[in-house]
Structure formats: structure tokens, C-alpha cells
Amino acid sequence: MTTTETTEAPPAWNKPPPNIDKDSREFWDGLARHELLLWTCHTCGAQYWPKAYCIKHENEPWAANLSWQPSSGRGKLFAYNVHHWAFHPGFKDEVPYYYALVELDEGPLISATMVGRPPAAGDVGKAVRIAYEDHPEGFTIPHFEFVGD
């Protein structure tokens, strides 16, 4: 699982499906293109995740002054936990897994599991970047990995 290609097809999806709704469809389409999109204000440049009206000033109807734009896909580890229990049978073979809250360089917080080196005490604040896991079912699951170690 890296930012480039997956070499072999992952097994059939046996976990809860991604919760893709009318507000998040474009975001998930971005992940499938290996782009981490942020909801971006064209009036002032503020960026959000998930979708919202800009809090800094008046908005156009339906928040039309914002749209999904690619981000750097980079940020810092804000907090993480270690799941020792598989609450759903689809995660039985993955525990322990590391679920991270990441503060993106653009500002918003977003969460995903870590791949590569697992985080340890003292890693909060270290640089991470997004990694993509494509699935034949037509969606891409995001992860984060440490940069430069």
C-alpha cells in the first residue's frame, strides 16, 4: 500500500462499505484518482473537511463559493490509537491496527489508519502523508504513512 500502484488485488471487501453520500461523493471520487480533496473557499481560501459553509464571511446559496480542490496530502500526526479488538469480523486479521487523527498542512483534521511503520509514543507531531488502497469494488481507502523514515 503506497502512493503508487498496488501489485496484487486485495481480497474481496468484507468490512462495512464506505459511507458515500451526496455531500461526500466527489471526495471519494477524488480518492479513487489518488487525490485528497479539501472543501475550499474561493472567496477567502479557507479549507474544510468535511463539507461546510465558510465560517469567515457570508456565503452564496448552497455554499457555492466553495468546491473540492486537491490538497498536499500531507500533515502531522495529531493523535492515534491502537485497536486491539476487532469490533467487526472484517478486521479480525488486521488487529492490532493504528487509527490516526491527522492535522493536514492546510488545517483540517481527518482520520485514517496508518500503514508502514506503526506510530509510537513521541510520534505525535511527526510528518505524515496520505497513501491509497484501491479496491476492485470501485472505491479507494485512504491511509497515512510517516514521511522520511
Partner: protein, 398 residues
């Protein structure tokens, strides 16, 4: 009574506790309501308003029911509606019922919350899942990634506090141990008769690290009901009246979300300010604190946020034994969600009523005049998760 205090009092309390494997939520709700009405010395025919406290608006939706306890119990209420947001139930219910009482639209309102999480969890276990399974809800982000239970994201609060302030797992364990000590004085508590040590806490299995099993609240069945009326009416009824002294409300979205502080504190600031102002009281007047404790870190945050210690000093404060029996601020005196049972903020609310009435048996805090009860809950869209905080101050009627 300060002139700004609301004209409200709790006149009756009904509690259904413990596993209820063969009982429906609506029957539990109806039974708790029946008990509360009887406790007040009222008849069914005296009840003219009803409020159903449900944990909607949380992450996934909770198993609910399509029925009204008013129908089940045959209550002649002129209105019945549902209110609640995650574990924030009693505080919101009181604020809503108050308008009916104060405008003369009702004389006695019964408010009830019921849960069957324990029974449901026994069912989901058979299908290979662990803990409470929630139905899917629009906007829930992380399920496909493994964000499956409250512990999946709530544990970031503990993790962040640890990273920023150096709080330790043993310090969180001190909360668990002291609340367990309270539970061992409460025969109604799930963990009655089962004291624990810090070592037991440390040896309990990791569930979602940094949370051990003993950092996590109970999964429960049960129902709690109370009768709310005006102060004057409450004084003529069977039990000692418990006045609502003040209330306040706070929202993460208002002051914490954008500053990313809601993983180190809760939306206490405004809620506390409003409640103390309405009641005319100060922090030093509070004799017992029933703090919403879905996990240990929520207790730690609130001890700091209310001001019993400085932000970041919560670990040392609980380590010194301040919240257990004999401590400087007796906290979650029935055992709380961690060691008694989890009926949202109704667990602490019922305990606050009992402490103020002097009905808390072996765990009764001497000269308890004022009790604090808090609520917490909401959506699980990080970073705005669980954004509501409610503050309710209860006190002995003068």
C-alpha cells in the same frame, strides 16, 4: 432562592436497573415512569405532559422503538415528544419541559429514557461483532476504515491529552479505581462487590489503546424516569423536593472545533458560566459532581474544565484521590457509567437526585446541598465529535 433560578423541581424518581433480557425498551420506559409517578405520590391521572429521552443524533443510530410509553402506560398526557442527543438527555429534557410548566401548559411532566444496549450486544455477539453495533447514518466517516465504536475515536481524547500534558494510563486508572470504590457502596451498580486496584486497571486488556477495558463505560439495559413540576407543587408531594438551581449549555462547534481544542477539553465554558449565573452559586458550593463518563478521559477533562484543577493537571489531581469516597470533590458517587450502568446522563442525574434527597445509603455524601450533573453527546464527525455539553445544578429545596 436567587431570583434568577428556574421555578422547577424534581418531584419523583423511577429507576429500572440491571439486565432486562426479556423486556422491551418501551416496557422498561413505561415501568420507570410508573415508578417515578408513584414515588412522587401522584396518580397516572395527574400527569399531563410526557417527554421521551432518546439517544438520537449520535454516531450510528441506537436501536430505538416505534411506540410511545404514554400509550403503553395509558398516560393522559396532553403532549408527548422525543428529545435527546447522544448521552445528553436529562439536561435537554428539563429545558424543554420547563416551557410547558412555566406557561401553564402542564402541571406535572414525566421524562423517561430507556436503553437495551446490553441485551442487543448479546445478540450482535452471535454474529461475530463486539460491543454495541449501530445502524449506518449519513455522514459517519470512518466505519470502512475501522472506526466502529465509540472507543475508536473517543480514545483520541485521552491520546491527545497524554501527548500534550504527559497524562498517563495509570492516572486515568485512578479515575476508574475511585469510581469503582463508589460502585462498591451502591448495591444497584453492575460492579458492586468488585473493587479494583490500579494494577487491575493496568492488567485489564487493551481495547483501543490508550484505553484499557477498565477505561470504558458499561453496556447496560434499564430505564430512568423523573417527574418535573414547579417548586410550589413539588413541596406538597410525597418526597423531598429537589430544585433545579440552574442550567447551561455549550457546543464544541462554537468555540473548540476550529481551534482543534476539543481533544483536550469539552464545551464546558459557556455551560458552566450560564448554570452558575442562573443559580447564583460558585464552584465551591457544589458538594457532589456527576460528570458524564463514557470514558475516563471525559472525567479528567471536566475536572479541569470546571476548574477543580488547572488544565493539564487533571492526572495529578485524580492520582491524589480527590474524586473517590472521602475526596475533596466526590465524583460519580454511584459508580457512574464506568461502574454502575450506562443510561446516558440519566445515570448521574438520578444519583444527583438521590444525593440531594439524602437517599444514597452507604455512599451518601454528608450535608449534600448542591449536586452537579452533566451531559455529553452528539455526532461523530471528527473534528466536531460529541459536541454538546449540558450543565444542570440540583439542590435541596429551602
Amino acid at each position: 432562592m436567587g431570583s434568577t433560578q428556574p421555578d422547577l423541581a424534581v418531584a419523583g424518581l423511577g429507576v429500572v436497573a440491571g439486565p432486562q433480557a426479556d423486556r422491551s425498551q418501551r416496557m422498561m420506559a413505561a415501568e420507570a415512569a410508573r415508578l417515578a409517578i408513584a414515588d412522587a405520590g401522584l396518580n397516572i391521572s395527574d400527569i399531563d405532559g410526557a417527554v421521551d429521552l432518546r439517544r438520537t443524533g449520535g454516531g450510528g443510530d441506537r436501536g430505538s422503538y416505534s411506540d410511545a410509553f404514554t400509550r403503553v402506560l395509558g398516560l393522559p398526557a396532553n403532549f408527548y415528544f422525543v428529545i435527546g442527543r447522544g448521552g445528553a438527555l436529562a439536561g435537554l429534557g428539563i429545558a424543554a419541559a420547563a416551557s410547558f410548566l412555566q406557561r401553564g401548559l402542564a402541571k406535572h411532566v414525566v421524562l423517561v429514557g430507556a436503553v437495551d444496549d446490553w441485551s442487543k450486544s448479546q445478540e450482535t455477539k452471535k454474529h461475530g461483532h463486539r460491543g454495541m453495533a449501530h445502524a449506518e447514518k449519513e455522514g459517519y466517516w470512518g466505519k470502512a476504515l475501522g472506526d466502529l465504536r465509540a472507543a475508536s475515536h473517543h480514545s483520541w481524547m485521552a491520546a491527545r491529552h497524554m501527548a500534550v500534558y504527559g497524562t498517563t494510563s495509570e492516572q486515568l486508572g485512578a479515575i476508574s479505581v475511585q469510581q469503582r470504590a463508589w460502585a462498591c457502596l451502591n448495591p444497584e451498580a453492575k460492579m458492586y462487590g468488585r473493587p479494583i486496584t490500579i494494577e487491575d486497571h493496568q492488567n485489564s486488556p487493551w481495547v483501543v489503546e490508550p484505553y484499557h477495558l477498565f477505561d470504558i463505560s458499561q453496556v447496560s439495559d434499564g430505564a430512568i424516569a423523573f417527574v418535573l413540576t414547579t417548586r410550589e407543587r413539588a413541596r406538597d408531594l410525597a418526597k423531598p423536593a429537589v430544585d433545579i438551581l440552574g442550567q447551561g449549555f455549550g457546543e464544541v462547534a462554537a468555540d473548540l472545533w476550529w481551534e482543534k481544542k476539543n481533544f483536550q477539553q469539552m464545551a464546558v465554558h459557556n455551560a458552566k458560566k450560564q448554570a452558575l449565573a442562573e443559580s447564583g452559586l460558585g464552584l465551591q458550593d457544589i458538594d457532589v459532581a456527576e460528570l458524564y463518563d463514557c470514558f475516563t478521559a471525559e472525567v479528567l477533562f471536566q475536572l479541569e474544565d470546571y476548574g477543580w484543577c488547572e488544565k493539564g493537571d487533571g492526572g495529578a489531581f485524580v492520582e491524589a484521590g480527590n474524586i473517590g469516597p472521602g475526596g475533596s470533590i466526590p465524583t460519580n458517587t454511584g459508580g457512574g457509567l464506568l461502574s454502575c450502568y450506562h443510561l446516558g446522563d440519566l445515570t448521574g442525574f438520578a444519583e444527583a437526585v438521590r444525593q440531594v434527597r439524602g437517599e444514597a445509603g452507604e455512599r451518601q455524601v454528608a450535608n449534600c446541598e448542591v449536586a452537579l450533573s452533566t451531559g455529553h453527546g452528539g455526532e461523530l464527525v471528527s473534528p466536531g465529535m460529541c459536541s454538546i455539553h449540558t450543565t444542570t445544578l440540583l439542590g435541596k429545596a429551602a
